[in-house]
């Protein structure tokens, strides 16, 4: 059971979603309304524990009377609004965005990307073999986690999680601009010289696997990473008195990574370095 914090009652507003009269609490996003109605809108940069950045634009929907499409993840439903989620225009943008992303970025570890590419008929190959790509080498500069920005879709989630939305450490930011923009420390210094405190909260929110545990990265390299053979056990971190929930991912009796339940009202998926990375001792006993 998860505790549900009580909220002041919110007014319901009414709007039309794909022709259906829909009622949602005031302040809900179109995406929340869609999910409540059982509609599957693709999302990449949206994260359940973060303020939507609406940067990927894969969730766009058509709002009647609007000149451009609206990002479902962040646009709030307004009374009387008429929203269509499945128009040709919306589908075209989603398809193109998926094509563009897949043509520039390695989406091989992005959950559901392949499924959506298929569903929308996206053909990333059509931009030709010479199409510019990110072409980044993985950054392995510490023993805890790896930054493989070739897989980065610049969703800003790690920056937000490291910065004012959770950790308040501000070790990383976006540097450069346009296609050359990259997530970076100051002067592109190695993580070990940065303000990073290795809480790993950025890994927790990264939607693409651009940020991953060193253990996972090494096993993928070696071809031994096998999610289907893994079990997940949620327990309480044993280190300090805070008592955060940790989820241990175990493959062949070894902890291979640690996540944290996002619906925990205290930690929202965040941990500290000990809970996140200090699992070696478990295997040593």
């Amino acid at each position: 059971m998860t505790a549900v914090p009580l909220q002041p009652p919110r007014r319901l507003i009414e709007f039309s979603l794909d022709g259906q009269d829909t009622r949602v609490p005031e302040g809900s996003t179109i995406l929340e309304a869609c999910r409540a109605a059982g509609k599957d809108i693709p999302t990449l940069c949206e994260g359940d524990t973060l303020t939507p950045k609406n940067a990927c634009r894969v969730c766009v929907v058509e709002v009647e009377g609007a000149r451009t499409l609206a990002p479902a993840c962040s646009r709030r439903a307004e009374p009387g609004m008429a929203v269509r989620t499945d128009t040709g225009r919306a589908r075209h943008s989603r398809k193109t965005v998926l094509e563009l992303l897949a043509s520039a970025t390695d989406l091989s570890t992005t959950p559901r990307a392949a499924e959506w590419i298929k569903e929308y008929g996206a053909e990333p190959g059509r931009f030709g073999a010479a199409a510019a790509r990110l072409n980044e080498e993985p950054k392995v500069d510490n023993d805890l986690y790896v930054r493989d920005y070739d897989k980065c879709i610049q969703c800003y989630k790690c920056v937000d999680a490291c910065g004012d939305q959770w950790q308040n450490t501000f070790a990383i930011s976006v540097a450069g601009r346009g296609f050359d923009a990259r997530i970076s420390t100051e002067h592109d210094a190695p993580l070990t010289d940065s303000a990073c405190v290795y809480c790993g909260n950025c890994i927790e929110v990264c939607p693409t696997g651009a940020l991953s545990f060193k253990s996972e990265f090494d096993m993928r390299e070696a071809g031994t990473w096998d999610e289907s053979a893994q079990t997940e056990t949620t327990t309480v971190c044993a280190y300090c008195g805070v008592g955060c929930n940790v989820t241990l991912h175990v493959q062949e009796n070894e902890i291979v990574k640690v996540t944290s339940p996002h619906d925990n009202p205290v930690t929202h998926g965040n941990l500290c370095i000990k809970g996140r990375f200090g699992f070696q001792h478990v295997s040593q006993h």
Binding site: P71, R126, I153, S173, G176, R177, E186
Partner: protein, 644 residues
């Protein structure tokens, strides 16, 4: 916040540059060199400094102006002073093209490669400069050069701008107040236009020596009767407040005080003034919405980040008649209930910055700005902010972020600026041309003003005519004049091939469409846009595909990178246009179809206007001009477009 600083120390010069802006550090915690006893006993939280985060951009400028680039030590030092995490400040510094985070020579030559300059021989200029100064970015003889987007000198294309760090600016007006009170060494600059490789080399050797060309040169109509917005340009001494007043200056502000804030808004609304920045939003409505917000303080922002390729009208007004803008901002601030106005001028306009700084100082010392403007009990002051080379900062919400010391990335709307703008407060943002209309509205009255132009587009309008015309420059015409009439004034080229209306974010029209009335409604009816008032004439000496490629390159370069359709879409657009350089007809069809599909997604799904407009000029060239042998709707499976 985990502030973590490296071991690199600032040099004395860098420290001095920052301290000249921020004052000496209060303690060792803030980067002071000596630890006092008190420092050892308690740490300061930096809260006061954090509240001045908006000084980050000026601080980066201070260092860059002094040494030509921003070193690790300097960045660390200003982060300490302002309590800004270094990673964030690095993200900000690398966002702007005028800053460097690697060593480079003090003298940097910016060579415009944009539309008007491309049409007038920037390629040759570039080659000549390459011969003398080596490849772009290389340091040859203490000088480096870089290709630059539009410098706003289109009427004198091809243009170059020389910036040298660490030298005092050339002595401008005689009565210039001491900048910052100290001998604040700033960079020297030289505008070279029209430029040759020789004149650029000469200016690079001594950038302080050249006096910039006068603003009047950009106004072929200068001194003519009947001008409203340009009437003082080339007529008054831009450094003299008294001369400005002798030519009717500050009578509008007095009228504003008579009318009261709501009276001013009523006049502006009745005059039908619509924003001249491109969106044509009714100014009175914007002011009303800002004035009525219960949340305080309110801010006024003047968007002088004119960076649309082909646009230079705001520069000419700011250089030639700076007080008119200061007065208009004061009126706008008064009407919207703001006590502080931010004037954000693009970094590539050193002369405008200087004239405005000077004008603000004079106005302040004479009681036209300050705690009690004209003794009316209204407090208003203006902070001038210099941009640092980012077209996107002309987007109003990106401009707010830039002022606040963040990366100049647009915010999502809603919420709109009138509700949550600068520093999260109600903000009225207007561009220069819009604001300078306010003075005439108040002096001539809403009715007389509304009688100018057409019913839906009232008042006078400034146009920036460049390209292959005999007399390029800023023209003022009442709304409703036709494109042909304007071109005739400027000297139409013999074999006109096309006109780019509204700049890189606008669209091309054909020579047989010159009867398009230059109004918001007229251009819309013709399936194009007035945009910011750019009129770039192209004749048949110009290779259209190259111009399209330059437009694509521009958008790719200037995309902030926040959203996928724009960040990657602009790259794919440029790649396709590259392939199309030597393809036509059937061979081109696949790439044209690809351009359409990517373009549609950019238009529909991008966060801001940059991405939304990044394909419009190319689209119009395909649909209206039939470039690549694909006139309207001729390729398979495509219906006619552009008429939505």
């Amino acid at each position: 916040m985990d502030l973590h600083f490296g071991d690199s120390k600032p040099t004395d010069e860098e420290r001095e540059a920052v301290d000249a802006l921020l004052g000496p550090p209060a303690s060792a915690w803030e980067g002071g060199t000596e630890r006092t006893d008190a420092d050892l006993r308690w740490a300061v939280g930096g809260r006061a400094a954090r509240e001045r985060r908006d000084l980050l951009l000026p601080a980066l400028h201070a260092v860059n102006d002094r040494t030509g680039w921003i070193s690790e030590g300097a960045l660390d030092y200003l982060c300490r002073r302002l309590t800004v995490p270094p990673a964030e400040a690095y993200g900000v510094a690398t966002f702007y093209s005028m800053f460097a985070v690697r060593p480079r020579p003090a003298t940097v030559v910016h060579v415009c490669t944009d539309l008007a300059c491309a049409v007038n021989g920037s390629a040759g200029l570039r080659a000549g400069i390459e011969e003398r100064l080596g490849t772009a970015g290389a340091a040859t003889g203490g000088v480096s050069w870089q290709p630059s987007p539009c410098l706003g000198l289109c009427e004198r294309a091809p243009a170059a701008l020389v910036l040298r760090a660490g030298e005092p600016a050339p002595p401008p007006g005689a009565d210039r107040p001491p900048a910052g009170g100290s001998d604040l060494r700033r960079r020297a600059s030289a505008v070279v236009a029209p430029a040759t490789a020789e004149s650029v080399a000469r200016a690079a050797a001594a950038p302080g020596a050249a006096a910039g060309p006068s603003a009047a040169m950009a106004v072929p109509q200068a001194g003519q009767d009947g001008l409203i917005l340009l009437r003082r340009v080339g007529v008054v001494d831009p450094s003299s407040l008294d001369d400005y007043r002798a030519h009717g200056g500050y009578s509008a502000l007095r009228r504003a005080f008579e009318l009261g804030p709501s009276g001013v808004i009523r006049e502006v609304t009745d005059a039908g003034l619509a924003g001249r920045g491109g969106a044509a939003f009714p100014t009175g409505r914007k002011w009303q919405a800002t004035a009525g917000r219960p949340d305080h303080p309110h801010y006024l922002v003047c968007n002088a980040d004119e960076s649309e390729p082909g646009t230079f009208k705001d520069r000419v007004v700011m250089e030639g008649d700076p007080y008119s803008l200061i007065e208009a901002m004061t009126i706008a601030g008064y009407a919207t209930g703001a006590h502080r106005g931010y004037l954000y001028v693009r970094g590539e306009y050193p002369l405008a910055v200087e004239r405005l700084e000077h004008a603000i100082g004079r106005a302040r010392s004479r009681g036209f700005l300050g705690d009690d403007v004209l003794g009316q009990g209204y407090a208003f002051d203006i902070e001038l902010r210099r941009g640092a080379g980012a077209y996107i900062c002309g987007e109003e919400t990106a401009l707010f972020n830039s002022i606040e010391g963040y990366r100049g990335e647009p915010r999502s709307k809603p919420p709109f600026p009138v509700e949550k703008g600068l520093f999260g407060k109600p903000t009225a943002a207007n561009n220069v041309e819009t604001l300078v209309n306010v003075g005439p509205i108040l002096t001539m009255g809403a009715e007389a003003y509304a009688a100018i132009g057409t019913e839906a587009s009232t008042g006078p309008k400034l146009f920036c005519v460049s390209g292959r015309v005999a007399r390029p420059g800023v023209y003022e015409l009442p709304f409703g004049a036709t494109l042909g009439e304007l071109l005739d004034l400027a000297g139409r080229p013999e074999s006109l091939r096309a006109v780019l209306l509204g700049g890189a974010a606008g669209g091309f029209v054909r020579p047989d469409e010159l009867d398009i009335p230059l109004t918001f409604e007229g251009t819309r009816a013709a399936g194009t846009t007035l945009g910011s008032g750019v009129v770039l004439a192209i004749d048949d000496t110009v290779e259209l595909p190259r111009i399209l490629l330059r437009i694509a390159e521009f958008f790719r370069d200037e995309s902030c990178g926040q959203c996928v359709p724009c960040r990657i879409g602009t790259v794919r657009q440029e790649e396709a246009l590259h392939r199309l350089l030597d393809r036509e007809g059937a061979g081109a069809a696949t790439d044209v179809a690809l351009l359409r599909e990517v373009g549609q997604a950019m238009k529909d799904a991008s966060i801001c206007g940059l991405g939304q407009a990044a394909w419009s000029a190319v689209e119009s060239a395909i649909d209206r001009l039939g470039v690549y042998g694909t006139a309207r709707g001729s390729e398979a499976g495509q219906g006619p477009r552009g008429d939505k």
